[in-house]
Symmetry: C2
Subunit: 237 residues, 2 copies
Amino acid sequence: MLKLPHKVCLSMKVDSFSDHDSLFAGLAKRVGARLLLASTSEVYGDPEVHPQSEDYWGHVNPIGPRACYDEGKRVAETMCYAYMKQEGVEVRVARIFNTFGPRMHMNDGRVVSNFILQALQGEPLTVYGSGSQTRAFQYVSDLVNGLVALMNSNVSSPVNLGNPEEHTILEFAQLIKNLVGSGSEIQFLSEAQDDPQKRKPDIKKAKLMLGWEPVVPLEEGLNKAIHYFRKELEYQA
Amino acid sequence: MLKLPHKVCLSMKVDSFSDHDSLFAGLAKRVGARLLLASTSEVYGDPEVHPQSEDYWGHVNPIGPRACYDEGKRVAETMCYAYMKQEGVEVRVARIFNTFGPRMHMNDGRVVSNFILQALQGEPLTVYGSGSQTRAFQYVSDLVNGLVALMNSNVSSPVNLGNPEEHTILEFAQLIKNLVGSGSEIQFLSEAQDDPQKRKPDIKKAKLMLGWEPVVPLEEGLNKAIHYFRKELEYQA
Ligand SMILES: NC(=O)c1ccc[n+]([C@@H]2O[C@H](COP(=O)([O-])OP(=O)(O)OC[C@H]3O[C@@H](n4cnc5c(N)ncnc54)[C@H](O)[C@@H]3O)[C@@H](O)[C@H]2O)c1
Ligand SMILES: NC(=O)c1ccc[n+]([C@@H]2O[C@H](COP(=O)([O-])OP(=O)(O)OC[C@H]3O[C@@H](n4cnc5c(N)ncnc54)[C@H](O)[C@@H]3O)[C@@H](O)[C@H]2O)c1
Ligand SMILES: O=c1ccn([C@@H]2O[C@H](COP(=O)(O)OP(=O)(O)O)[C@@H](O)[C@H]2O)c(=O)[nH]1
Ligand SMILES: O=c1ccn([C@@H]2O[C@H](COP(=O)(O)OP(=O)(O)O)[C@@H](O)[C@H]2O)c(=O)[nH]1
Ligand SMILES: O=c1ccn([C@@H]2O[C@H](COP(=O)(O)OP(=O)(O)O)[C@@H](O)[C@H]2O)c(=O)[nH]1
Ligand SMILES: O=c1ccn([C@@H]2O[C@H](COP(=O)(O)OP(=O)(O)O)[C@@H](O)[C@H]2O)c(=O)[nH]1
């Protein structure tokens, strides 16, 4: 999902399971298919519990700048379980934590793509706030394996899919700069409003019930993403 | 809104600002009208902060039995502010706390109507759980005055409208039994899942910005509701 708050907000109608999403649920019911909701760690908001497990109710500002995405996903989960209980639709809900890899959008404003592009182009790496906020990044192939395991399981309640290796954003900036071998500066910009300060998945449930855990080391994943972005820039030039 | 979880859930599409609610927003924009959202104290969920003021982000289970109503209202607020910011629609958001009065539905399962009907009919007053959970009830005419004041104000952010006089549910049962002069027993049933344990509005904002506060004493309001329900039962007999 592109991170363009001012443009995507009214597309929340899509995230929040309106028109053609209810249509998908109707279709799923008719053909007896399982519905997968690509939910998100953002349902936990700016969490007051760390790490975040599936039974945490979250800490979301319903009218803040991130609300369209966060509340849209929360209500999409609510609707999934309404369809499950009332219409018998089979649902699987993955709460996906930050994910990256080749073929992600170059300009969607997410931190990994921003930092890699900035490092490759010799531009300053833009850290919002002090950079002490944390995230835990998973490589896309781990996520895909988790989604497949979830769809093949009997687990209809929400499951976190993410890599629990947590770093500060400043550490990410330094790591990416080093992996690229870039001479870019690190530039501190103003903090983003309602930016979650800590985020890390508790993945006990996925380990226990899906036999899943991430296996791709962070540096290996980042090198693949850097390789992809380098080629893309060459191709564009 | 009728409190019939198993039936109303999929009508959340209405609460959550889908099809014809977006249409209302479109209409409001076209004719330059102000949109009033009848939001609810349920956006605060089972609150961990007491009393609840408008800047509290709430504590809501996104996949619990009350989620359809709570998350539906949260996302309706989100959508209101999206329409405000992106489309320039003027919005007013009232977070309405428990309200009662004549002409409320007899059989919607809310506590005031249940207790009054039970007391009038000599049936046991059904208290869910220990009855130590609290609510604060406002009389309908106070709410209406608050809504009018809100619509005539410049306050586009959410405003609590409720009566801060807080009582336990057991106290309500005893009070209603006494006002009716009923010989009904008080019967303790099992606790409702995710039932908010404490709820009381912080109405500083409404006092300051709307010059509003509730004026109808609880007993006076209850007597009017009891009078109405008594007549309704006579009419039905
Ligand atoms: N990337 C992450 O870190 C992350 C984290 C949590 C959740 N998610 C969720 O995972 C999902 C995918 O995220 P992503 O980062 O891969 O997004 P993306 O924007 O990279 O990919 C979305 C894809 O969906 C397609 N698409 C958009 N609207 C569509 C429609 N109406 N019908 C069919 N296809 C449509 C787009 O063309 C695009 O290929 C989203 O629901 C997102 O909210 C992603
Ligand atoms: N009563 C409370 O304590 C309370 C508390 C918080 C919020 N609210 C909110 O206030 C609003 C009114 O609540 P209420 O208790 O008076 O409900 P209610 O069920 O008594 O009244 C709702 C009214 O809306 C009408 N209605 C329903 N769907 C409609 C539609 N599509 N178009 C036009 N009219 C329609 C119904 O016929 C009914 O007259 C609701 O949005 C509710 O969520 C009520
Ligand atoms: O299964 C689908 C459903 C929709 N769309 C696309 O999603 C966009 C929005 O679709 P629609 O107009 O149905 O949604 P709405 O505008 O009502 O949110 C359009 O570009 C559609 O072509 C799609 O690619 N696949
Ligand atoms: O150029 C950027 C983009 C993002 N971030 C920060 O990186 C973290 C992750 O942001 P992203 O948008 O990638 O994902 P999300 O906030 O949804 O986890 C947040 O703390 C952002 O403030 C940053 O410092 N610089
Ligand atoms: O301004 C309105 C809009 C709708 N409705 C009624 O609300 C119900 C649902 O309307 P609609 O079919 O448009 O909504 P949906 O089923 O798509 O949620 C119908 O009984 C409509 O007659 C109404 O009374 N007033
Ligand atoms: O017959 C009843 C109906 C409700 N309640 C309790 O009364 C409180 C208010 O319930 P209501 O459904 O009226 O409103 P809400 O929970 O939405 O505030 C809750 O703690 C309910 O568990 C009760 O004890 N007996």
